[in-house]
Point group: D2
Chain length 309, copies 4
């Protein structure tokens, strides 16, 4: 097996030198201001050892990556009852499609498309005030990463809330089927804010560690979920983690993962590593262009594909 | 690690005693005549060792399981050009949906839905006579399983051809977009026949061995595909192998697999085992009811989930 | 030609005696409180002569019937530019479908489905305050009916606004494509309120008179629109006036018309009569059950079908 | 009222001089060979008086116009039972969409989209041999037009049959739901052939006469259907006669009509005229470009819109 430090170093250098960097998201000005040349990569092994390259400590907007952690939190709170409100199948549609909701009476196909993540957020909120629910989510992230400095980028949250008409449509649509229990504004407020959490690759790879090691994070020593649940969240990431590019990601990278429009991706090599990568430029499907390529290289060089070793 | 022979024996006994056996497919009389109490399970390990339980040597109609092998054959013939004709994403639709085709100008989402498998068959046919193409497919199955006795159940093929209006619709629909190159009757003739191949669990587990071991089958000693290709076929099985139940299968079983309406399922534990199970009764999604449960138990007891060990 | 007074009297009596009355809408309590046995019918002829039967002066919630008048008002304000924002084709979908919007990038198919009527309302609002736009709409109704007593039922409006999640979804969805210019709350506020206007059959038949006589209302003497525009609004009512029951209404009644969930329907016999009918019970498609039957009888007995005389 | 002979002469001259002529259909070579400058217009009044302009006696491929006559024939044979097999609502989809069929379990929305017309043809066939059914249809056309010279263009029929993959898909799709009773090849054979009937504007306007005069054709003296049925066929033409351009045709022309891809359109001014127009170039929606404009002018100049006189 190659040395992981060398592999991380090599891949980081290769990615930093590439000129094909995709397009930075500009639908809100805060995301558009990010340096397109930024690149970070952090790999944390079974022994908690960290291999880091590039801008590994620069916080960025985690966006949809937060959906993995809110799913974990919601499952912790209400268990398998969550699946009455959201499905577990890939959607075959863009991340913000509303067609699927109409065809299935308002029930989102999985927790990683926007509608599904909003339903998960609604389950976390569960009658509390938005501020309390949001505090709980942020504290959960701080706990997972063992880093109390993690916080929400309020400018990003405010911009999302001001322009998120499609998400407002999705939430009201589900509400019309009785599938959102809280006031729509409350649920969406929490949703827009947890997508606006800012974290670095180091923080993300640490926080995701529990998924790589059957629920117990080797670098923090924390037991987060039962082994069964860790496996199942990984399964969901593999089949649904990249919207309508999930099949392609499985095919090329061969690892469960979840991307965000801020350019970050987390990926899990079960039993071997938790990984976070960041490059702000996106490909046509809305996933980090170089982030995906870096993970494909990492998986190949380390022999980490879950589909054959 | 538990003893695989004991686990196979225990699961076989448990499944044989269950009374919830699902519903045997009856859309053609040949399938409807199968004994609903039949159950077979075969696991072949890295050393080629076979663990078998129940009706492990009874041939049954492999139906859609054949799609894995025709995909392998087509990739061997025309390589990645195949992906110009069929996608790699889960469909979010039933196995025989035509809506997706209309939305994407006749290009099937993946090679494991009916439309995609018909397109793959068309690529294998490629100007030859149906008889030749079919001969090639059967010989490929005999080669993979190292068993010259494998053959097509002509009664099943004839029944499928007589009643397969939905598949005729799919093929003609793709043809209207120029995505079927051969006469539709030729392509469908080959398709209906390769779905009607009859094999036992032992033959199927043997034939699928190359997928578990990076392209090289330990029990036959044959190198079938490059490691990369084996991994990628596994990835496709995981994301798309069970139609609109693929997410559920990944979530519960945690192994790449492919089911057929004849009640068979093959599954791959990369580096550890190739598996075939058979129980004719189907669940609501059209997958073998006890077959899926048996695989869930096997994966759990052996710790074989690819999502965490 | 039969005597219209006698025909109206007979039909009214027949409808009052029928026991199949459909189901009163109950999605908001205000509608559910209406007397299910109410029935009104008013026909106004070319000479302004009024034939009235039953509860012809009882105000009811006009609901979607308002869409005909807001369309007229919007065309008066911005003319054919309106058609850049909304189409003119039947939708083949339920009145509140969002699927069609996704397929056509947020542009509603016609001004009589909810999404289209919201877009029309947005065009009327056009930068003004909701209160002003609403005042303009109410004054337009009062002008058309020459009756200053027409007003909004504020309880209905408040209930609609509190529970109209599907419409909120539609409006935000269009907004996400840039097709709603005003703040969504403004546009929806005006929309919910103009649907809550209360009018009697007499007032509605009077207000719709201009559509029956090439834009000039014989009973009020008012010229409202050019002949061409009156014809075109009638054409839109015929093809799109009853959501996914428009074909059925054309087939059975043979007159342009527009129904509302409050149980009212207006219909136009060009050159011969403007008609309003009201019976609160709805059929499965959401149109007044006895209202439609009454119109079918009226059209048949008077020989008013536009499809053959 | 203007003199119809002069109006027909003027419109014919105007259309002959226009240079925007649309695009002639070329999906089969036989249609592509038609002279793009051809133009014919025939109007037959209540007294049987014929006003003809241009190439009024040149036969052309009537294509989908045949659907009006096969609908009439099928209603004559099995009456309202036909509506168990095909609906009466506009489709909101292209003429050859299969999506609608999947959403409604194989039942076509109306008899004028391809799927619906195939279902109507199947009802006519009804266990007979294709040759007999086709003979019946041709004789019906000869009877309606009182012209025994009307016949099928066998070259067109053969080309349609050779390339009609989409229609083969539609028919097999319906068959899979049990909605086609005869062998698919039989039904499609009859369908492709009746679409290939060749008729002139004079023949078409004569044949359609019964629709303009409550079922009784003034020029032939033949009673074809009851008044009610004539009205209802007109209603269906208005709401569904131009596929996804039906709303636009109603809005602009204001007459029931049915177009064919050969460039012909029939239109009905109830009580006033039956009309046939022909110009081979099509607009983007597949309807005759100048044919539609000619009808719009004719309707306007004669004041024939059914939506206001």
């Amino acid at each position: 097996m190659p040395d992981i430090d060398l592999v991380v170093r090599d891949i980081t250098q290769e990615m930093q030198q590439r000129t094909d960097r995709g397009q930075v998201a500009t639908y809100i000005p805060e995301l558009g201001r990010v340096d397109p040349n930024a690149f970070g990569l952090v790999v944390i092994g079974a022994d908690g050892k960290v291999s880091a390259g590039g801008d590994s400590d620069t916080p960025f907007s985690i966006q949809s990556i937060s959906k993995v952690f809110t799913l974990t939190l919601a499952l912790g709170k209400i268990g398998d009852r969550l699946w009455q409100r959201v499905g577990r199948e890939p959607s075959g549609s863009p991340f913000n499609s509303i067609v699927q909701l109409e065809n299935e009476r308002g029930k989102p196909r999985n927790p990683f498309i926007n509608a599904g993540a909003i339903a998960v957020t609604d389950a976390i909120l569960s009658g509390h005030q938005p501020r309390e629910a949001l505090g709980e989510i942020v504290r959960f992230m701080q706990f997972l990463a063992q880093d109390p400095s993690i916080k929400i980028d309020e400018d990003v949250a405010a911009s999302e809330q001001r322009t998120g008409f499609r998400n407002i449509a999705l939430a009201n649509y589900m509400k019309s089927f009785g599938l959102i229990e809280n006031p729509v504004d409350f649920t969406l407020g929490v949703y827009f804010h947890h997508c606006a959490i800012a974290m670095s690759c180091r923080q993300l790879a640490t926080a995701a560690g529990f998924l790589a090691y059957l629920g117990r994070n080797p670098s923090t020593g924390l037991s987060v979920v039962q082994p069964e649940r860790a496996r199942r969240i990984n399964a969901l990431m593999l089949t649904c983690g990249h919207y309508d590019g999930s099949g392609e990601f499985a095919y090329r990278v061969g690892l469960p993962g979840k991307s965000g429009v801020g350019g970050g991706i987390i990926a899990i090599a079960p039993g071997k590593a938790s990984i976070a990568v960041w490059s702000p430029g996106l490909d046509a499907a809305g996933n980090s262009h170089l982030g995906r390529i870096a993970l494909e290289e990492l998986s190949k060089r380390m022999g980490w594909s879950i589909f054959g070793v």
